[in-house]
Every structure is written in structure tokens, then in C-alpha cells.
Amino acid sequence: MTESTGRAAEIEERLDALQRESQARRAELRAIAAELPEATSRRALVRSMVHSVAAAPNKPAVVKRIVVKLLRAPADLVRRFRKS
């Protein structure tokens, strides 16, 4: 076996390994795609939203806005009712 054919065989071998790895990666992407219906369900989105609020850097401001919004809800409803 000459040096160049030996080198070619080595590259072919590496190519095979890379292709196998690529197939594994594609399988992972297919698995992610299969998970999508569950991951994008309403329940998962709500859970994600709660997590976003919990992880917000300005959590006190967010909580304050929510509390104020809730406290003002009855008055807003009355105003909307009167307008209509």
C-alpha cells in the first residue's frame, strides 16, 4: 500500500466516522421535532411563563404591576361598562 492510498483510506475512515456522527445528530433533531407537540402544549407554555416571571431580573416591579392591575380590575370593568 502506497503512502497516498494509505492517507486516502485514513480520510475515508474519518469520513465514515463523521457521517455516523451526523446521522446521530440528525436522529437527535428528529427526536426534538417529535417532542414539539408536548413542549408547545398550553400547559408547558403556562409553566414557561411562570418560570419567566420567576426568573425576571426586576421581579418586584413585575409583581407590583400585576398587583396594581388586579386591584384596578373592578374599576376598569365599571369604566368599560359605562363607556359601552
Binding site: A8, I11, E12, R14, L15, L18, Q19, E21, S22, R25, R26, E28, L29, I32, E35, L36, A39, T40, A44, L45, S48, M49, S52, V53, A56, P57, N58, V62, R65, I66, V68, K69
Partner: protein, 616 residues
């Protein structure tokens, strides 16, 4: 006659500072002792007429307590400046309730306030002598000037004008409405600097911010332009009386139709500007409208009596008027997005390695590059500009791009096309184009592997022979003046690492991009500078080129601008539409957006010393 105090926020929009200064000047001309308070103090003198220009800015930015605001508001007359229908108008309105009377520089604003029960009066702006910076006999350097906040509509309208403006001497200065506009920031000028700019411009273009046509005649901008003999070209407007369309300014639904006739007849255009200057400075000066308003306010009792036990919660009301969302930005499925992104990136790397191995089998080297060059490329020793065009699957568009570059004037240039292993016939198309254009210095580098955009650009830079390198994508275009004008901008600013111009967006959406001048805090908020720019080759080399890193994938240009900024370098903005950016449905940015939050954190970690929003 009571003395006049005019208050304005020191850190608010600089426009307001100009308006306050005009009122003070007009007050002095009316024989009143007039004082400008622009250092952050609030009205306390009950004997004076206290006018507060843009009260929401003075009070909200001033850090006053609700009690202090309430006391100051009862002693003063707000001068509202915002357009009805905007959130700022609503915020401004909150600070009018405690005052006896209100002035509004906008006719429609005064009407809207009256409808809400305020004693609101229109203060029509007019000229004051200090605005006039005309130089007798001088010829304006700028043919057409645009000054205004950026909105989608204005972007679209400006883009429509690009084919009429690329060979003109224009100056488009846009700013974002999202933050206070400060003097000297991002190419924006105020006071005497702005008047000088206007005096040196033949035409001021006025485009309305939204689709309400006829729109509001923006008196503040119009008056200062007219006072400097600048001919105002505006879309159909209301509320411009006593000025007359056709006599003092030009009104048209389609500015593209009249731009050429105005710019090609500078004497006729200047005559309109001269008539307007006489009108606003002599016939309708600010003193004519301010005088009666001050006399009316003289008759009012000094302060409005306090009717409430507690001051309103001004800060809270202002926040509500701004309609800040209750919840933080929704970033769902972070783990899944990150997993998908990592898998996609890993697969991309694997595919590149596979291509490299195949390339090695075929050519004996993993990064073999095929070269095709024109005779002119071999003959041209030292081009002034190298244009690096990266090509990937744009075989159907690339000839249009190359034709646009080849039409460049007043510059010696070479074109370097880097084909990043396209799947289509792009390489053959470019090779054919080079064969047909033997007079154009062109080099095709055909990579046998797909390297990715940053590495492909770096390959083009390595092959470039000019000190200035224009970066382009294979689907975008340049106007013939682009290379020369960008190169001139770099010559004029020897400290600048790169130059960029406004780009006209065409295709699925129209608008403008790269429209604002260099300002690092803006750059830290979002990338507003497109990759289509002219870089100094040595700046690219000094900084190690575009970063080929999966955590800046799709954001390579932004990362490079930030790297320049972190090193204290800057880009110079050419405020003219010199290039065309093709908008399309699909973009590689869709992949980046999977982990935008993560990538942003990465950029902040790379350059912690920059002025990131909310601190680093």
C-alpha cells in the same frame, strides 16, 4: 407685567430646549424680564409667569416628589409639545391637571386638550432673530435635508425616494423615538448648529410620521428651516395657516415628482425659502402669538388653589400612560430552543468537516479554493477599494449585484466574489460574468467547502489588495456613487474603522436601514448597522476579522461593531442612501433567533465595559 420664567428639563429632548430658548427670546423682545431655567430647577416663584415646556420631561426626569410636582404645576402653565395620539401626549396631559391654563404648540393638541376639559390655547410658533443664520450670497452645500424621528412610514417613503437621491448631496438624519434626543448624539444637532445646517441646505423634506394624510404641520421644524431660507417640501398638511402652500413652502403628495425640479432650479427654490424667511421672521414672529398669551396669563390669579389633600401619584400615572406590559418578555421553551440550536450548529460543523474530508480526497487539501480572475484583475496593481461579495445560493441574483458594483464611478476597485460552496450554479454564473466583463477587475474564489459567512468574508479580506474593503452580500446592490462617497468618508475621518451609509430596503418590504449615526449606547440596544459597510483593511486585521463562533452566528457584523466600540474605535455614517438591501422571507437570522437571549448574554460577557441597557 409679570416676569417670565421658562423651565425645561436639562436631560430631556433637546428639541424642547430649543423651543424654551425661543420663548425666552420672544419674551425679552416683548419687554419682559425673561429667564431660561434649564438646570433642573422647578417653578417656585408665585409672582412670575412660569411656563414649563414639555412638563412631563421636566417633572419625570427631574426626580421630584409628587408633592413638589403638584406645587410646581399649580404655579405654572404647561407648554405641551407632543402630538395627540402618541403615548407622550397622554403622559404630558397628566401634568396639566393642576394648572389654570395650558398652552400647546400644536393646534390639534390644543383642540384635544380642550375636548378633555382643559383651558387649552394654541401657541403658534414663529421666528425669533437668533434662528436666522443665513449668510448673504452663500450657496447651500446640502441639496436636501431630512430631520426626523424614524417611523415605519417615514422609512418607506424615504426608500421610495432613493432612486432620485443617490446622486444628490443629501443629508438624512434620523433618530429613534425610544429615548430622549440629546444634542451632539448620533449626528443630531440643535440650537445654532442646527440653524447653520438648515442655512446650508436648499430643501428640507418633511414626511409625516404616520398614515394620517393630511398630517400635522410640524411648526417647530418648519419655522426654524424657514427662518434660515431653507425651502420646505412637505406632504399634504393641516394647520399651516397663516403660511401659504406654494408661496412659503411646497406641498405635494408625491415628493419624488418635485424633488428633481426643486433641486435643478436652486434659484427658484431659494426664492421660496427667502419668502418663507421673511414671513416667519417679520410677518409672523413668535412675539406676535406669545404676547397676547402672556397678557392673558397676566390677568389670571397667580396660582391655582390646592383642592386635593394628597398629591396625585404622578410617576405611577405616567407609567400607566406609557402602557408598559404587565409581564416580562415571554421567552418560552428556553431549554428546547437551546438544545435545537446546539444540535443544528453541531450538525453544520459536522457537514463542514465532511465536506473538508471530501475536498481533501479530491484536491489533497481540506480548504482548496478555486480561482478565476479577469485580465483586468491581473493588470490592476493597487485598487482604491476591494469589494468582497460573499455568495451562497444566490446564482439568480448575483449578476445584478455585480452589475451594480461595476457601475461605480470615480473610483478604482476590484471585486472579489467568495463562493461559499453554493448548491446552485452561482459559481458558474460568476465565472461567466467575469468572462463577459474583462474590463472589470474581478476575482472569483470558489471554496470547496462551506465555511460559513464570517469565514467566507475573512477569506475575501485576505485576498483583498486595497486599503479599504467594501463588504456585500450577493443579493444586495450599491448605487454608482456608493464606493466613492464611503471612501471619501473614511479619508475625511482617519480615526474611523469603517464607514456605512443608509440602505434602501427593497423586495418583500421597503424601508431604510443603517439609518442612524454611530452611537455606542444605541448599538448596545440593537444592531442598527448593516454588514454592508466599507472597512479599513488594517482595522479588520488588527481585530482578527469576523468572529466564527456559534454564539454570534448571524450576528457576526454586530459583534464586530461592538468589538470596535470596546476598543474605542468607531464607524462613520454617510447620511445618504447609497446602497440597496434586498428583503426576503427567509433569513439565517431565524436560526439565531432561537437563542437570541443566550447570544445577547454572550455579547455582554465579551464586552462588559460597554454601555449595555440596564448596566453590564
Amino acid at each position: 407685567m409679570r416676569p417670565l420664567n421658562v423651565f425645561v428639563a436639562p436631560t430631556g429632548n433637546a428639541f424642547m430646549g430649543d423651543i424654551a430658548a425661543w420663548i425666552v427670546e420672544a419674551g425679552a423682545l416683548l419687554g419682559r424680564r425673561s429667564t431660561l431655567h434649564d438646570q433642573g430647577d422647578r417653578p417656585t416663584d408665585a409672582e412670575a409667569i412660569n411656563l414649563v415646556v414639555a412638563p412631563h420631561e421636566l417633572y419625570l426626569l427631574g426626580g421630584f416628589t409628587d408633592r413638589q410636582i403638584d406645587a410646581a404645576a399649580r404655579l405654572s402653565v404647561p407648554v405641551c409639545t407632543e402630538q395627540p395620539g402618541t403615548p407622550w401626549f397622554e403622559v404630558s396631559r397628566l401634568f396639566c391637571a393642576a394648572s389654570r391654563t395650558v398652552l400647546d404648540i400644536n393646534l390639534h393638541g390644543a383642540e384635544a386638550l380642550r375636548k378633555q376639559g382643559f383651558d387649552a390655547h394654541h401657541l403658534r410658533l414663529g421666528g425669533v432673530p437668533s434662528m436666522d443664520r443665513r449668510v448673504v450670497g452663500a450657496t447651500p452645500t446640502t441639496e436636501l435635508l431630512f430631520l426626523g424621528g424614524r417611523t415605519e412610514r417615514r422609512s418607506r417613503r424615504l426608500a421610495e425616494l432613493a432612486p432620485h437621491l443617490w446622486n444628490r448631496n443629501v443629508d438624512l438624519r434620523l433618530f429613534s423615538f425610544g429615548r430622549p434626543v440629546l444634542d451632539g448624539v448620533g449626528g443630531l444637532v440643535f440650537g445654532s448648529d442646527k440653524y447653520d445646517l438648515l442655512a446650508d441646505s436648499l430643501v428640507l423634506l418633511n414626511l409625516h410620521r404616520d398614515d394620517t394624510i393630511p398630517g400635522y404641520f410640524e411648526w417647530a421644524r418648519m419655522i426654524e428651516a424657514m427662518a434660515n431660507g431653507c425651502c420646505v417640501l412637505t406632504e399634504p398638511s393641516t394647520g399651516y395657516e397663516p403660511l401659504e402652500a406654494g408661496l412659503h413652502f411646497v406641498e405635494t403628495a408625491d415628493p419624488a415628482d418635485v424633488i428633481a425640479s426643486l433641486l435643478d432650479d436652486p434659484l427658484g427654490t431659494a426664492a421660496i425659502g427667502d419668502r418663507a424667511a421673511r414671513a416667519v421672521l417679520e410677518q409672523f414672529p413668535l412675539t406676535a402669538t406669545l404676547g397676547p398669551q402672556l397678557e392673558r396669563i397676566d390677568q389670571l390669579p397667580v396660582a391655582r388653589p390646592k383642592r386635593r389633600l394628597f398629591a396625585p401619584n404622578y410617576g405611577g400615572r405616567a407609567l400607566r400612560a406609557q402602557q408598559i406590559p404587565v409581564l416580562p418578555a415571554f421567552t418560552p421553551m428556553a431549554a428546547l430552543r437551546h438544545r435545537t440550536y446546539r444540535a443544528l450548529m453541531a450538525e453544520t460543523v459536522l457537514q463542514r468537516q465532511i465536506e473538508g474530508a471530501r475536498c481533501q480526497l479530491r484536491h489533497g487539501s481540506a480548504d482548496h479554493v478555486e480561482r478565476v480572475e479577469s485580465a483586468s484583475y491581473r493588470e490592476l496593481d493597487s485598487p482604491q477599494v476591494s469589494v468582497v461579495v460573499t455568495l451562497y445560493d444566490y446564482g439568480h441574483l448575483v449578476t445584478e449585484t455585480l452589475d451594480s458594483i461595476a457601475a461605480s464611478t470615480e473610483v478604482t476597485f476590484e471585486i472579489i466574489v467568495v463562493d461559499d460552496h453554493s448548491n446552485d450554479d452561482g459559481r458558474a454564473v460568476v465565472a461567466g460574468w467575469i468572462g463577459e466583463h474583462s474590463g472589470v477587475a474581478a476575482l472569483l474564489l470558489g471554496s470547496e467547502i462551506n465555511r460559513g459567512l464570517p469565514a467566507a468574508r475573512n477569506l475575501g479580506f485576505e485576498a483583498s489588495r486595497a486599503p479599504k474593503v467594501m463588504v456585500m452580500d450577493a443579493d444586495n446592490l450599491v448605487y454608482p456613487t456608493a464606493l466613492r462617497r464611503l471612501a471619501d468618508a473614511l479619508d475625511a475621518d482617519c480615526q474611523a474603522a469603517f464607514a456605512y451609509s443608509v440602505l434602501e430596503e427593497f423586495g418583500t418590504d421597503t424601508g431604510v436601514r443603517s439609518a442612524m449615526a454611530w452611537h455606542v449606547p444605541w448599538l448596545c440596544e440593537a444592531n442598527y448597522i448593516d454588514a454592508q459597510a466599507m472597512l479599513r483593511r488594517d482595522a479588520w486585521q488588527r481585530h482578527g476579522g469576523y468572529r466564527d463562533d456559534e454564539l454570534v452566528f448571524g450576528w457576526e457584523d454586530w459583534e464586530l461593531w461592538l468589538r470596535f466600540a470596546a476598543a474605542g474605535e468607531h464607524g462613520v455614517h454617510v447620511s445618504q442612501m447609497l446602497g440597496r438591501y434586498r428583503t426576503q422571507e427567509v433569513s439565517m437570522l431565524s436560526t439565531s433567533n432561537l437563542v437570541g437571549d443566550h447570544m445577547l448574554r454572550h455579547l455582554r460577557e465579551l464586552y462588559p465595559a460597554l454601555a449595555w441597557p440596564g448596566g453590564s
